[in-house]
Symmetry: C2
Subunit: 449 residues, 2 copies
């Protein structure tokens, strides 16, 4: 066919990389929107195709251990649902989501101290879609989003796909650092840029494995309020803590300034793709309109399955089961790391969730090391994927959510061996920066989320 | 909380309407993206809340008649799926969609003459999401999308939410008019604007109820190819024709220049939210990245339910059942219209799909008439919803997909009475333009799709 005659020939250099990844040149390159040039596949994806082989211990993926679900019971729930309410479950529904499910979500978010009205809830196709919709409603190209350092790869992918200017803010062992947040706001505004969102994962952070305490949350919220910036609180892991009560959500203390995102992906099942946003009135109206443009309505089939499950099954008990599964695996990871990692390696101690964030000894490079780790049959996600600016080369994310404890121990053993041998190389030849630099994962691969 | 201090105060007039629809002022208005100002709820929505009462015969909604599905069989399909493959159905999956389902989709699109490779398919959360992703990949603000006149309300909502410049092109009883398409392309380019997509529904058009014949399709395709513009072919109704073979898709004759959208919403069930795009290689790569940013991955639960259904059930027979259901209803509509409509009223004769497009006698206004129709217990969608430019006041869309034939006849009887009384009014007082003008539905309500 004829090539587009009006090609603007914008970003040809950036596109070269994309068109060369396939075997054919793309005749439509010049017809794409500006935002499409920010959509790039990570180079580490090819490696993860290898890493999904069964002989590799994957400490990379964030897949929940759905095998812990009572699957026979879910099967009969789905059957009963279709048999009794098939005409609703198989039909189009409300763009905002099923009203009964929205009422049930109120019970779930009450666990983290959030009170709301069913009208405040927008049900989405996983909370990833809620991230997308919030960004769509708030962010013009060039608008600044402040994110943690590191931050969730899937959120970075969304922000970049809307051509946001993503600015990382320092974290410590209690998460987002208030003084760093204040400095970043001042610096960005001094540069004449407009800040639209502060994006934070206060509980059991992905990938950092840290949690904001109550005092820290209050400080972060006070800054957002004082500066008039919407706080986007992402809380997929909030109910998956290993000790005591779930952390109180920031949204529990401000209904007007916080947009809260929740998900059933980790407390029930990711394959259902049911998440939600709790948003102030005006924002919620825009989110519903954006959702209807995006997908018309979320799946009634998935929503009613969740609703039936919540109505008829002991879902709080099931969450306790998940907590126990993940705590045992967290313990296996931490004990192995403690026993096996060479000196100079450090890691965070997660009190919940799926992840620990590991820092390699000085001079080692997690991205350069990954092919050697995969060759040694263990996989992780290099730290660079969680930054937009090339930071994180000395870091990697370890997930303990999916493999059995013995596999985790074996994975850590293999990883420790790789790090040991990297250290020997570094001591002999200097640093191990060997591969081409990887500029970060711009779009989340589902198995890395 | 403090208001955003950097408010640009852009579009304050446009926003007044939005903030006044709620009871509270929205403190975040000044923080929204430019595109959010194009997201507006239609004023006719409130009316449709009334129209959903059971005593109203709704000829408005495009809901498929899912009651015609073998629901017991679907219930046991879902149960077996979760029981046997729950660990996959409940887990995250591929961003591009389940590979077995993509292979099965090849069998479905073969029915309209399309041959492709599973790699060419991207599974989406309904084909609405495919529309959203294609627009996201192709369209910068201000880019032109050429659409039919009238066009699908949900597509108009997507194009507007990406701030596209939507340009309508004339249709006749065979759909999009080639000479009008050529003229529009020349006119838009002469004005210095860039055309990104030609959006067409060639088979059983929503809302126009017409179908492009093979010659017409060839002409439209030749123009798109000659002008180097991507053709976006939306085909949710292609298998729901009432006579002969399904129309051959335009995509069947050009794999490189056409992006084809399909859906299981009308051939299986809308509540599953499973649709797909078939796209040229480079476009497909971008669509997958955009999809991963938007939702990580489509629901395995819904996808595997569809896949299991296609693998184990006589889905072609079920489509024949749907065809018979809808043909009987189409006949009920057309016979009643023929018997009851006053002189000067005309309508299209759909050979498949869900809709007929009615033109009122001169001087009558479908938007102004709607409240009186609803008071007389019959509902339709006014024609203005299918245009971005205020056209369509003399038109309305009648859906025959959901009500039983006797209800359709009763609905037409009520509608005819309303039109008769409008005609009397018009003959006495001139035209019936009485209400505030409605500028079109900018975002689809699911029950209007």
């Amino acid at each position: 066919m004829t090539l587009a005659g009006q090609g603007r020939n914008r970003g040809a250099a950036a596109e070269a990389e994309v068109t060369m990844t396939g075997t054919r040149l793309d005749p439509w390159v010049d017809a794409y929107a500006s935002r499409a040039h920010a959509m790039r596949a990570s180079e580490i994806r090819a490696l993860f195709a290898v890493a999904s082989r069964p002989e590799v211990v994957s400490l990379a993926g964030g897949m929940p251990f759905v095998q812990a679900l009572p699957v026979e019971m879910l099967a009969s729930t789905a059957q009963r649902l279709l048999y009794e309410r098939g005409d609703v479950a198989l039909q189009y529904g409300s763009g905002q989501g099923d009203v009964t499910l929205r009422e049930q979500i109120l019970q779930v978010i009450a666990e983290v101290g959030v009170t709301a009205h069913p009208d405040d809830i927008v049900v989405t196709t996983g909370s990833q879609m809620a991230l997308d919709l919030v960004t769509r409603v708030f962010c013009d190209p060039g608008d600044v989003v402040l994110v943690e350092s590191p931050s969730y790869v899937g959120a970075l992918g969304v922000f970049r796909s809307y051509e946001c200017n993503v600015v990382h803010v320092a974290m410590d062992e209690e998460g987002l650092v208030p003084s760093a947040l204040e400095e970043a706001i001042a610096r960005v505004r001094l540069a004449g840029q407009r800040i639209k969102l502060i994006y934070t994962i206060p509980s059991f952070h992905n990938p950092a494995g840290v949690t904001q305490g109550p005092g820290r949350r209050a400080e972060v919220l006070a800054i957002a309020q004082r500066e008039g910036i919407a706080l986007l609180e992402d809380d997929p892991y909030g109910l998956l803590g290993f000790e005591g009560e779930p952390p109180r959500a920031i949204r529990a203390d401000d209904a007007d300034g916080v947009i809260y995102l929740g998900s059933f992906s980790k407390t029930i099942a990711a394959g259902l793709r049911v998440g939600w946003a709790v948003a102030p009135h005006g924002v919620r109206e825009k989110l519903v309109l954006a959702a209807e443009a995006a997908v018309l309505c979320p799946s009634n089939y998935a929503q009613l399955t969740v609703s039936e499950y919540l109505a008829t099954q002991p879902w709080r008990e099931q969450i306790k089961t998940f907590q126990e599964v993940y705590r045992e695996r967290r313990d296996a990871l931490l004990e192995s790391l403690q026993a096996l990692m060479p000196e100079g390696t450090t890691w965070t101690i997660p009190a919940g969730g799926f992840y620990s964030w590991l820092t390699l000894p000085h001079g080692l490079d997690a991205t350069a090391m990954l092919p050697r780790a995969v060759a040694n049959l263990v996989a992780y996600v290099p730290g660079t994927g969680f930054y937009v600016n090339g930071q994180g080369r000395q870091n990697l994310r370890l997930s303990y959510c999916y493999p059995e404890p013995d596999r985790i121990r074996e994975g850590v053993r293999r990883l420790a061996a790789v790090i040991e041998s990297e250290l020997e190389l570094a001591q002999t030849f200097g640093t191990t920066h060997g591969l081409n630099p990887v500029s970060g994962t711009s779009v989340p691969a589902p198995n890395l989320q």
